[in-house]
Symmetry: C2
Subunit: 259 residues, 2 copies
């Protein structure tokens, strides 16, 4: 079925950011790669492991033009005709919000052998950073990972109806629409004090966790205090204890300054 005369492509999850959060299998393949097509967000430290490989940056840092994806698909197929071991290194896990289906379809159409190596998705690194599990016995038995389509017209497929009811919500790529997400969830009956965490650069050295609640998130008028870094928004009762502790520390600090 699949030609062996061309190279093999490995779609590898680079993990959430820190270079040593790639899997052992992923690292070994990267070290043996002849060509690496990588996202913009992949750590330079990780790319340095691909010592004998030609590196090709294909990441779309912002925006998601399908022409760009189409070009990546073509580059991937071309690379497999040139190199024995081709690695397609994607941030997080390749199968979650990674548009892997389009790259897989292109490889299958071209008869190129491929293998998928899963990775640690950002939500799990965020959970580790907070020391707050995404599920918790008696509190949360479901968690939904979502890319919001705020502003888009999707009458039969609205993201808020899809996901409002899960115990814990994790929004990927929701930074710019955070306030609108919060407003919609409040409109659907979620409480003002529902705990929220905003996690930037989970697992990177400049990782940052900020706690708030749904009511406050709804009133953020701009995101100037937020960097342009990859950001996750996590919501749910599982965060309650961490959020309360963080707020207590904040109050204590304010008292110290005022004293």
């Amino acid at each position: 079925m699949k030609k062996k005369s061309v190279g093999k492509v490995f779609l590898i999850g680079a993990g959430p950011g820190a270079a040593d959060l790639i899997t052992v299998r992923g690292l070994r393949l990267l070290q043996s790669a002849d060509c690496v097509l990588h996202d913009a967000l992949v750590s330079p430290e990780l790319l340095a492991e691909a010592k004998q490989a030609e590196l090709i940056a294909v990441g779309k840092r912002c925006g998601k033009l399908s022409s760009a994806q189409h070009f990546i698909n073509k580059q991937l197929v071309d690379a497999a005709h040139k190199f024995p071991i081709v690695v397609r290194l994607k941030g997080g896990d390749p199968m979650l919000f990674g548009r892997a289906e389009e790259e897989i379809a292109a490889l299958e159409a071209a008869g190129i052998e491929y293998e998928i190596v899963p990775g640690v998705t950002a939500a799990l690194a965020a959970s580790a950073a907070m020391a707050a599990p995404l599920t918790q016995r008696g509190v949360a038995r479901s968690v939904a990972f979502i890319t919001p389509s705020v502003g888009e017209s999707q009458p039969n497929n609205a993201w808020e109806n899809q996901t409002i009811a899960a115990d814990t919500l994790v929004f990927y790529m929701g930074r710019r629409v955070a306030a609108e997400i919060a407003q919609r969830l409040l409109g659907l009956g979620r409480a003002q004090d529902w705990p929220v965490a905003v996690i930037e650069q989970a697992s990177w050295v400049d990782q940052r966790v900020q706690y708030t609640d749904l009511g406050s998130l709804a009133h953020i008028t701009d995101c100037v205090t937020w960097s342009d870094a990859p950001t996750l928004i996590v919501m749910g009762e599982v965060l309650r204890q961490r959020q309360q502790s963080a707020l207590q520390v904040e109050v204590a600090l304010q008292r110290l300054w005022m004293a």
Copy 2:
């Protein structure tokens, strides 16, 4: 805040099964551990990496008695008072269906320093095994991970209401109640032909993927054809193409036998 005189505990995700799907950080810590408390499902190959460690099996293979969890918490705290580097190795990711919150609370109460190292969760290994992403542009922008509480009385917190609406559903620990899950989803309006995949032992050498649909799953009267292995049930349009191809192969094979 945290005492340095006692050991440090690392809660590490072992990943979905295959020994080389642990993270590089997780493996390095495992190799330097003085004591490893591990789940029953962790690969022996991985445990062999902890060469100088005392190994303690604490996994609850079936059932989830809180007394057992309480005992694990105690063992963890005791180990930190005996060894400098203690690893708590949990299947998948520690923060997803891992009851990590109880172990974290015990460590915090005892003033023991800890760190969480995320892992690849089984759903992502299952997705890789199927070569079917859990999200897909224009098809699925949300995925919910759920442990079903079928049979339990939870009027205000029913799992099916929590999650019915996500585009892709992944049930952890749902093997024994698969038919009931399907019946409930059909009752809530999901189509008979909604694609379903049952993935056993994702990423292990004896990994198995079976495709079916919601209507067929609802009529499974027993699970004798299923092993006792860790099983995920994935549902969603993202599986449609793989499911169709699998069914076509099945029909072709039947024709061959009949010819």
